[in-house]
């Protein structure tokens, strides 16, 4: 089985500061990986590097996504190849309605795959269907993208976009932060409904809470720019119970 994503010894940083100090990770089709870790361990940097944020400098290692060198691809090409990042802080874009934005986005992806643009009626019907996954009201379609949305609405909108774009690999960056329990349940429900045997999900989170709803196949602990421990879903529960200090201690002893 060819992995969807293969990260090998990745080192990266920002402004001369090294944040990722050798991350290796293999994600296979059908898998859900959770990456946990205390603040400042490099979780968001990993998400940013995968999405292609230009302010991060890659200093070493490789990232292969579906057989291609991911690091060579522009952010838009990563999306076209099937990568999706659910943003920790989705951006408000005044004047661009959610519907128009998604139409442009979906059709760009279709164009890349050599498909015709979707007919407006088909597209509208698809949007209506997928919105139900995250219990979003249709009125959001005509509103400016994320403008004036509550924290929960923004996160639901991210999952709605994911449902529309049907990525091969979805990276959810702290999607659970700032969500109340109902919104968390809805967001998780959406992600679960989108799980398929041929696609994969990476959930980046600080808390175990989201993993009560989205059951991961593998849990990794990121500390000081390295994955210091990997295990099954029970690792998340242990972290919840014991905190991160014992991991830090163990990591220090190894070093």
């Amino acid at each position: 089985m060819t992995p969807i994503l293969q990260i090998t010894d990745l080192t990266a940083g920002i402004e001369d500061r090294e944040i990722l100090k050798g991350v290796s990770l293999t994600v296979n089709p059908g898998e859900v990986h959770a990456i946990m870790g205390p603040n400042g361990s490099g979780k968001s940097t990993l998400a940013s590097v995968l999405a292609g944020r230009e302010e991060y400098a890659i200093t070493g290692g490789t990232v292969v996504f579906r057989g291609n060198d991911l690091l060579e691809l522009s952010p838009e090409d990563r999306a076209r190849q099937g990568m999706f990042l659910a943003f920790q802080y989705p951006v408000e874009i005044p004047g661009v309605s959610t519907a128009n934005f998604l139409k442009t986005s979906v059709n760009e992806l279709r164009k890349f795959r050599g498909q015709e643009p979707l007919a407006p009626a088909v597209f509208l019907a698809l949007m209506r269907e997928r919105m139900k996954l995250v219990e979003m009201d249709q009125s959001f379609l005509s509103r400016s993208l994320n403008e004036g949305f509550s924290g929960g609405e923004k996160k639901r909108n991210e999952i709605f976009q994911m449902a529309m774009l049907e990525p091969i690999l979805a990276v959810l960056d702290e999607t659970d932060s700032g969500l109340d329990i109902d919104a968390l349940r809805i967001v998780a429900g959406g992600v679960n409904a989108l799980r398929t045997p041929t696609t994969a999900t990476i959930i980046i989170t600080h808390y175990q809470r989201l993993l009560d709803y989205i059951i991961p196949d593998v849990v990794h602990v990121l500390w000081d720019g390295r994955i210091v421990r990997s295990g099954g879903k029970e690792l998340a529960l242990e972290l919840e119970k014991r905190g991160y200090d014992w991991i830090k201690q163990e990591a220090a002893e190894v070093a």
Partner: protein, 447 residues
């Protein structure tokens, strides 16, 4: 001295006109021309030392040799006009067109509402001034010569202008297009189109004013439109600058709004080299309202200067203003928005906002909101912002498969579309959206 040479051109044109008038040189219109000429010479051609003309440098083109209007052959055909107007022809084909070529009304090139009641179009003449009290009261008093040097110049030279009257209670369903053409195919021309619109009590009309240059010689188009909005009447005025790349336009639009009347203005600047628009609105009676929308989408070496004035002369009037601009290349934009609230204008509500985005290091915008409020029980606000596109937003769009250029185009288009969406006339709105989108390298958003 280009100013002196220009003054000579104006004086010679005036003398020329006086000779051509054949007896009507003693009529009221020509009396006004004489006074206006005097006022123009007194005010002089403004230089950039003049506060109102700080960024609008007219010296480079007032020194040109301009031929006098009377020397120009009347050879413009309907085909020429259709070519100059391009797609606008089909956009506005259901409406009426008043055509003005080199400042003169051309009935033969106009489609007038002959069988339609409610609108009339006449040539501005001494006879009309003598017989029509409303025209007499409005002409030259809505736009005053002493307030602006180019209004004075226009008034001194305007001949065969147009008077459009919308009769009491008439709701005109079709737009009236004023197509102003400068024919510069043979020689440089200086044109002075003059328009007076009188919308009587309770009437309603859409006016679309366009300025087009034909030919490769230089044209300087100095136009004045006066609009008297009657009580409870509603005039929606649209001015679309989408002319040849080297065209130059100095325009002055003045409206006075009577009790409970409404004046809505849309000024869209897309193509043209030098565009100066003054828009002066006098909210003259209780309950009158003004809505001012403006959008400039500039690139290259384009210059567009929007000077607006809203004068709240009495109590309980309302004004809202939204002007936006996108500036690329080494283009220059100017926004100067004045709001006056006179001491007696209590319970005024006046809101102004002006937002600009610079797309290049060489582009510049000069924004100056100017609120002068003498009444104390009012609600007034203004906001001006200047920025670049939000990088985080561009990244967000890119991460959804939209390339960087398209992401920028989408965002700039959306920025301007917020102004265009206020245009009620569907065809015209779509036309403007299409032109703006094409200039920004995208297509209109359609859902």
């Amino acid at each position: 001295m280009p100013q002196a040479a220009f003054n000579d051109v104006i004086k010679r044109s005036f003398d020329d006109l006086s000779k051509r008038l054949n007896g009507s040189a003693s009529g009221p219109l020509h009396k006004m021309r004489e006074a206006a000429l005097k006022s123009f010479i007194e005010q002089g051609v403004p230089t950039t030392r003049h506060e109102e003309w700080k960024y609008a440098n007219v010296l480079p083109f007032i020194g040109l040799e301009y031929s006098r209007v009377s020397e120009i052959a009347k050879s413009v055909t309907e085909k020429d006009i259709d070519e100059a107007l391009g797609e606008l022809v089909s956009v506005l084909e259901s409406g009426w067109r008043v055509t003005i070529v080199n400042g003169q009304f051309r009935g033969d090139l106009s489609y007038l509402p002959a069988a339609v009641t409610g609108v009339s179009v006449d040539v501005l003449s001494d006879k009309l001034i003598a017989n029509d009290e409303v025209v007499r009261a409005a002409y030259g008093s809505v736009a005053k010569s002493d307030a602006h040097p180019f209004v004075a110049m226009n008034t001194a030279l305007a001949c065969d202008g147009v008077v459009i009257r919308v009769a009491k209670g008439s709701e005109m369903k079709r737009p009236l297009h004023i197509a102003i053409i400068s024919d510069a195919r043979q020689v440089n021309v200086l044109t002075t189109p003059r328009i007076l619109i009188v919308a009587e009590e309770g009437s309603e009309i859409d006016i679309v004013e366009t300025h087009s240059t034909i030919g490769d010689q230089q044209a300087l188009d100095v136009s004045v439109s006066e609009i008297a909005v009657g009580s409870n009447a509603h005039v929606r005025f649209h001015k679309v600058a989408d002319d040849q790349d080297d065209s130059r336009h100095i325009g002055y639009t003045a409206a006075t709004v009577a009790r409970d009347g409404r004046f809505t203005s849309h000024c869209i600047n897309i193509a043209g080299n030098f565009i100066r628009n003054d828009l002066v609105i006098n909210l003259a009676d209780v309950g009158s309202q003004a809505y001012l929308y403006g959008a400039s989408v500039l690139g290259g070496v384009q210059f567009a200067d929007s000077h607006t004035v809203v004068d709240h002369a009495v109590n309980n009037c309302h004004s809202e203003e939204l002007y936006k601009g996108i500036y690329d290349g080494s283009s220059i934009g100017v926004f100067n928005g004045k709001i006056f609230v006179r001491p007696q204008a209590q319970k005024t509500t006046a809101y102004q906002s002006n937002h600009s985005v610079l797309l290049s290091d060489k582009a510049q915008v000069n924004a100056k909101p100017q609120l002068e409020i003498w009444a104390d029980d009012v609600k007034c606000s203004h906001g001006a912002t200047l920025g670049q596109l939000n990088d985080e937003a561009i990244f967000y769009l890119r991460s959804r498969g939209i390339d960087a250029d398209k992401a920028r185009a989408l965002m700039t288009y959306a920025f301007v579309a917020e102004v265009l969406e206020h245009i009620d006339h569907e065809g015209l709105r779509e036309f403007c959206e299409k032109r703006v989108a094409s200039k920004l390298g995208t297509e209109p958003l359609s859902l």
